[in-house]
Symmetry: C2
Subunit: 469 residues, 2 copies
Amino acid sequence: MRLAALLALVGLSALAPGAHAQPDPSAPYAEAAARITEAALADSAAYDRVAHIATTFGPRLSGSDALEAALDWILDAMRADGLEGVRGQPALVPTWVRGEESATLVTPHGEFDLPMLGLGGSVATPPEGIEAEVLVVTSFEELTERADEAAGRIVLFDVPFTTYGQTVQYRTAGAAAAAEAGAVASLVRSVGPSGLSTPHTGTMRYGEGIPEIPHAALTIEGAEWLHRIQARGERPVVRLTMGAETRADRMSRNAIAQVTGRESPDELVILGGHIDSWDVGQGVHDDLAGCVVTWEAVRLLHDLGLRPRRTVQVALWTNEENGLRGAQAFRDSLGDRVSHIQLALESDSGLFDPVGFGYSGGEGGRELLAARVEPLLEGLLKTDADAGPAGITEGGGGADIGPMMRDGVPGLSLRTDNGDYFVYHHTPADTIDKLDPAHVQRAVAATAILIYVAAEMPERLPHGTSASN
Amino acid sequence: MRLAALLALVGLSALAPGAHAQPDPSAPYAEAAARITEAALADSAAYDRVAHIATTFGPRLSGSDALEAALDWILDAMRADGLEGVRGQPALVPTWVRGEESATLVTPHGEFDLPMLGLGGSVATPPEGIEAEVLVVTSFEELTERADEAAGRIVLFDVPFTTYGQTVQYRTAGAAAAAEAGAVASLVRSVGPSGLSTPHTGTMRYGEGIPEIPHAALTIEGAEWLHRIQARGERPVVRLTMGAETRADRMSRNAIAQVTGRESPDELVILGGHIDSWDVGQGVHDDLAGCVVTWEAVRLLHDLGLRPRRTVQVALWTNEENGLRGAQAFRDSLGDRVSHIQLALESDSGLFDPVGFGYSGGEGGRELLAARVEPLLEGLLKTDADAGPAGITEGGGGADIGPMMRDGVPGLSLRTDNGDYFVYHHTPADTIDKLDPAHVQRAVAATAILIYVAAEMPERLPHGTSASN
Ligand SMILES: [Zn+2]
Ligand SMILES: [Zn+2]
């Protein structure tokens, strides 16, 4: 063991002692990686935990009993796993409660239910609802042009999905824009590429000094229905009823556990996902599976007796969806120690067939890590994914590790072949039946290998300039 | 023209005068078919009518104002089209009204909404709902084996979709089986191959002398959720609330119009679909598009001045979904004239890319018709469809033409490449955005050609023995 460690330090592999000319920088980690892979592919422990949490506690919106009950269970399980430093790190989170809600198309020929979901943070309607003619627009620009038609109406943004980043702005900012034009409520076409009468919820914001009006998502089908009525020269009339309520902030927690570093315990490899979700479905791809995969990666190191040089710490952040209070509390607790972080990894883009990792950080860091890790991921990654080339590619990060990354910490994201992610995202269909146990196994293996190498390699990964996210 | 007609009568084509040896039996109809095809592919009239009716009147459940308003509009439009014999044929239909309804999973950690749809004909729960432990079974056989566990419980049939015929029995007969075992309510996994939190409604029946218990469909996701809870040794608890109500029968109508036959007006070529639907979505594939395609086929003959030998009559039947009262009234009104029917065609399997027609009738009839029609459908049919070979194949029919077929009338169905039909069927997602205008155009052309030939050909198609459906 001492010889192997020595050889590793000089970049020579104990497993391939003849390779003098071009030492393989992954070689010192090959034996551990093989053990990790074998263990990760041997059972369904991580999948089983996702399934158990998903179907026991259901969705886990910030401020809910379900989230706190899930956190209690997780912290108990982390302790039972034998992990170190298990704790709930407090964070005060918003408490938005959906209440009863519905949208009804009031046509000349009867009333029809329009499946919908109110958007997180929206105010309520009066108890009797808001009934008004609907103005359908397809962009903020069109609303500006037709602003004189918006007063007293419900504005519907019927914007077909392009990318999440482009389309989501109507969900987040639609109410403010509609209210500014005098609308009494606002609706968006659900932010997703396709659906089967499947509404998508998500967070929204009001504007400073602009009236707060109720804001909800219709299904793609519902939005197109109203649009077609308008297109033939009629005005659809909708009655929107929402009992939404924002209650006092409530104490939640980030769930944290670690394997303490053998030589440099103050240097941290951080990884995790967000344990909160929206209040529909089970929040499996967003983001319970990401949480459990990162947790399981740390548990595997512990189980295999792999205690690397640095501390490997898993953090399941609370309140990513509508506040990022968990991420901020985590960052605040680090203080100046942020300079001791080797890297931070977040898995929050759905848990499909793993493709690799995205990397953002100081110059040369990606190459340093990739040279050591990529050879060890052989056989674990989907190589012909629509999601791009397998391996460690440029560009990564995540909302919860954003505050650290803005201070220069190298940030990684787990990349999976997630072309269907926004079909399920924030819907009642983000449930355990959409998760493939084999994807979970391979994601655990790849993540555990990456964090093991990052925690064990003698080299520090270079921090970037601030705001490198 | 007189030469062409003469040639046509002796089976020689005016378009291919050299073909003496083997006369093409389709030749006499080729010119008309070409005109039909050109007209059908030239505009979007049929699609536009589907879109207008779907988005103006919405779903059209028997007994609803929406159905009767849609029928008024259709009858007016048939008259405006210049069709003959336009009339509403009365039929008394059941009036089932859904009311407010919900299913809530009452776990140890909070309450979660389970998207659902009550099933047509179900009784209500008490106003406060029925809250009980759920027994999940995967077959009638398993329920029989576990009958001692069913008393006082809600039985859920979590039966994955195989074929509609196999799986739908749990929707139709599940409540009776569950009640017989002492259950207080029953649930089924929605009858469809896949979904995105998409519940499917449909009709159900109670058993003679068996208590009538509330019966509803959960989504696939919801059913699997409860099943997983049971599989780990716990009992899911659900609170089911349904305000369903069966009111007094109400008068509805079949919408009928025709092009009266030139020589044998008493001989009928009948075609149509059912104008009623379930009370969610817009009932576009089931079966508004089928209705409009058959109607448009008749309108095209009229517009093109094609008045064939026999009468071509379109019938948009009411109450297919939960009673077949329209079909029965139609059959009753024919009396002995059923022997004068050349054929009856129904389009009620979704309106996707047309593949051909299925045929059931007396021996040799399919060959007689196919030899005349198939060459004229060149270019209109999808030839590599999963739905089978293009053309007129053995085996056809439909629920609304069933009573005629049982008296020997040759029955046809329009076949389309409908592999996705049961994804949308009876759901809020059966909406206009799922319909392809090009499919409608080709279906109109193929249907109009088939009925023109059937109405024009000198030969009678042989009737079958009774119950040939
Ligand atoms: Zn997320
Ligand atoms: Zn139907």
